[in-house]
Amino acid sequence: MKTLFLRVFKIAMLALPVVVSLFVATTPAHHSFAMYDMTKTVTFTGVVTRFVSQANHAEIHFVPLGPDAKPQRGSDGKYTSWGVEMGGAAAMAQQGISVTTFPVGTIFSVNLHPLRDGKNFGSMEGPISKCPKDTPPPPSKHCNEVQGSTSHGRGNF
């Protein structure tokens, strides 16, 4: 757990200037981001289980891939579920992120700011990297490092 914390901290420290600069001129939201810990950024690679085309904030629900590049399961044997919130569905579609471009089963990587309360949900930071169909990245890699991957959204992954 300590190792995990250190990793998250390292990533947060690296990402902080970028996060700060982005939020100086970011687009508005429909709710405050107070519930998210904007000082932390975590990178996930996962498999889409649902694309939620909400007008205000689209969401992708996914099962993260673990260090073994396999979908994570909880202690009950069920798949672990995470969610990431984005901008409005129409705005995201203009950036190539929609229910048609991210169907169930899509493998992707995303950076997110996690909820302060520790639940498996976060707010997207930067673009999403989509792996080629049915091509998960090798262990310890993310989609942006996979040949043929595509980037969707603003900024660099």
């Binding site: 919130e85 309360d117 639940k119």
Partner: protein, 425 residues
């Protein structure tokens, strides 16, 4: 958590931390790129022009004055501090928007919240005298009747046919000029000074719980109604569709929720109960449209601004703007807000709509918004519900079927395929 994370060496972490600190400090000193000032189009009434607002002062790097012994961020009970609410130092010179963003933008709350909350720019303000209406009217009714009398004296109101209607149909963007009502270019104390004591108290309560307690209550977060005054808020509306007929002029817009407002031409107010977006009647004087909104449901502008009451009424004057060649470019919308319960005087603002497309544009569409939210107030704070939480609604996952499935526990049913076959079952 077993998610895959990037790793770094210890030395690189130290370098990153130093770089981070330097960059963050530099960014914190960058003055905001706003403060363009409200455009100085004159307030409409009595046939006069030229009473517009003056540009806001340019934002300077924050200069911290002598702090008060107690302020919003050190108070144990803000209700007891009423005597110093109108001192801008009580809010550490933060604008309402900066209070709203205290916990989310640039780490302004500091590392020992709330004591370490940042100061805003004490030199920045938009004078209350420029926010107050300069017209002599005490009520919207008085204002409307004066404009109507002036119009009648000139032979109006104009009764348009489809052939004579001004060609206002189209899609408009509200221009990005800053407005006091956006809460960015004005001291919080200045806005407070325009409110009655009860509404001052409500606003400080909002300021405290947003900036100190990290418990913002934005309407859209819960899919509450946006409410009438959110029409003038910065991020509540985007592109506006305007459609005119001889009987009414319709305005349709929305970001988090839909706004549909109609100016009913030549009609009177008849609603018996308050409406979320009021009831609007109006008349034409040539190509200028005057609109009177009444029967408004009191609500909140939120975002560390203020609430308004059921007494809220507005007079809006829509005037066409043209290029030098006479071609139509958009509308100037001059609004006077009357709310004697909430405001110590009528308030005034001017916004510009620029037409960007016609209604028959081949690709532009208005997307009707169904506000869906899984954010709930838990112990007073907005909390994101996730799958499995009580009250969570899986809107895009056949929620009705998920309710039935609770009645099917233990049944032998086909198992849905969750992930691609490449991962096995």
């Amino acid at each position: 958590m077993k998610a895959r994370l990037f790793s770094m060496s210890g030395g690189s972490v130290q370098r990153a931390m130093v770089a981070c600190a330097l960059l963050s400090a530099a960014l914190a000193l960058v003055p905001p790129a706003y403060a363009q000032g409200q455009r100085g189009t004159g307030q409409r009434g009595q046939g006069q022009r030229g009473q517009g607002g003056q540009p806001a002062q340019a934002v300077q790097p924050a200069q911290q004055p002598q702090p008060l012994p107690i302020d919003l961020f050190t108070s144990k009970n803000f209700y007891k501090d009423k005597d110093i609410w109108l001192d801008k130092r009580y809010f550490r010179c933060n604008s309402p928007r900066e209070l709203t963003d205290m916990w989310t933008r640039g780490g302004r709350i500091g590392n020992d919240p709330p004591r370490t909350a940042a100061w805003g720019d004490c030199n920045r303000d938009y004078p209350a005298s420029e926010i107050r209406s300069k017209l002599p009217y005490k009520t919207a009714k008085e204002h409307y009747e004066a404009l109507l009398a002036e119009t009648k004296a000139a032979g109006g109101p104009t009764v348009h046919t489809r052939q004579t209607l001004p060609d206002w149909d189209g899609r408009y963007n509200r221009t990005g000029q800053n407005q006091w009502i956006y809460g960015r270019i004005v001291q919080t104390a200045t806005i407070l000074s325009l409110l009655t004591p009860e509404y001052q108290e409500r606003m400080v309560q909002m300021n405290y719980h947003e900036a100190v307690n990290n418990a913002p209550q934005w309407n859209a977060a819960y899919c509450y109604p946006e409410g009438f005054m959110r029409w003038w808020a910065e991020f509540s509306i985007n592109q506006i569709e305007v459609m005119t007929t001889p009987a009414q002029v319709q305005f349709l817009t929305g970001v988090a929720d839909n706004f549909l407002r109609r100016v009913l031409v030549g009609r009177n107010h008849v609603q018996q109960v308050p409406q979320w977006y009021g009831e609007t009647v109006g008349f034409w004087k040539g190509d200028t449209l005057t609109a009177w909104t009444a029967n408004v449901q009191g609500w909140t502008l939120s975002h560390s601004m203020f609430e308004f009451s059921n007494s809220m009424q507005t007079i809006e004057v829509f005037t066409p703007r043209r290029n030098t060649d006479g071609s139509f470019v958009g509308l100037t919308v001059d609004t006077t807000f009357y709310d004697p319960e909430a405001f110590v005087a009528p308030l005034h603002t001017v916004q510009l709509y620029n037409r960007t497309a016609s209604l028959d544009h081949p690709t532009q569409r208005y997307t009707y918004i169904e506000c869906l939210s899984n954010i709930a107030a838990v112990d007073g704070k907005p909390t994101q519900l996730t799958t499995g939480d009580p009250g969570y609604i899986d809107y895009y996952g056949r929620p009705w079927a998920q309710n039935w499935e609770k009645l099917e526990k233990g049944w032998d049913k086909p198992e849905p395929v969750l992930l691609p076959g490449i991962f096995g079952r």
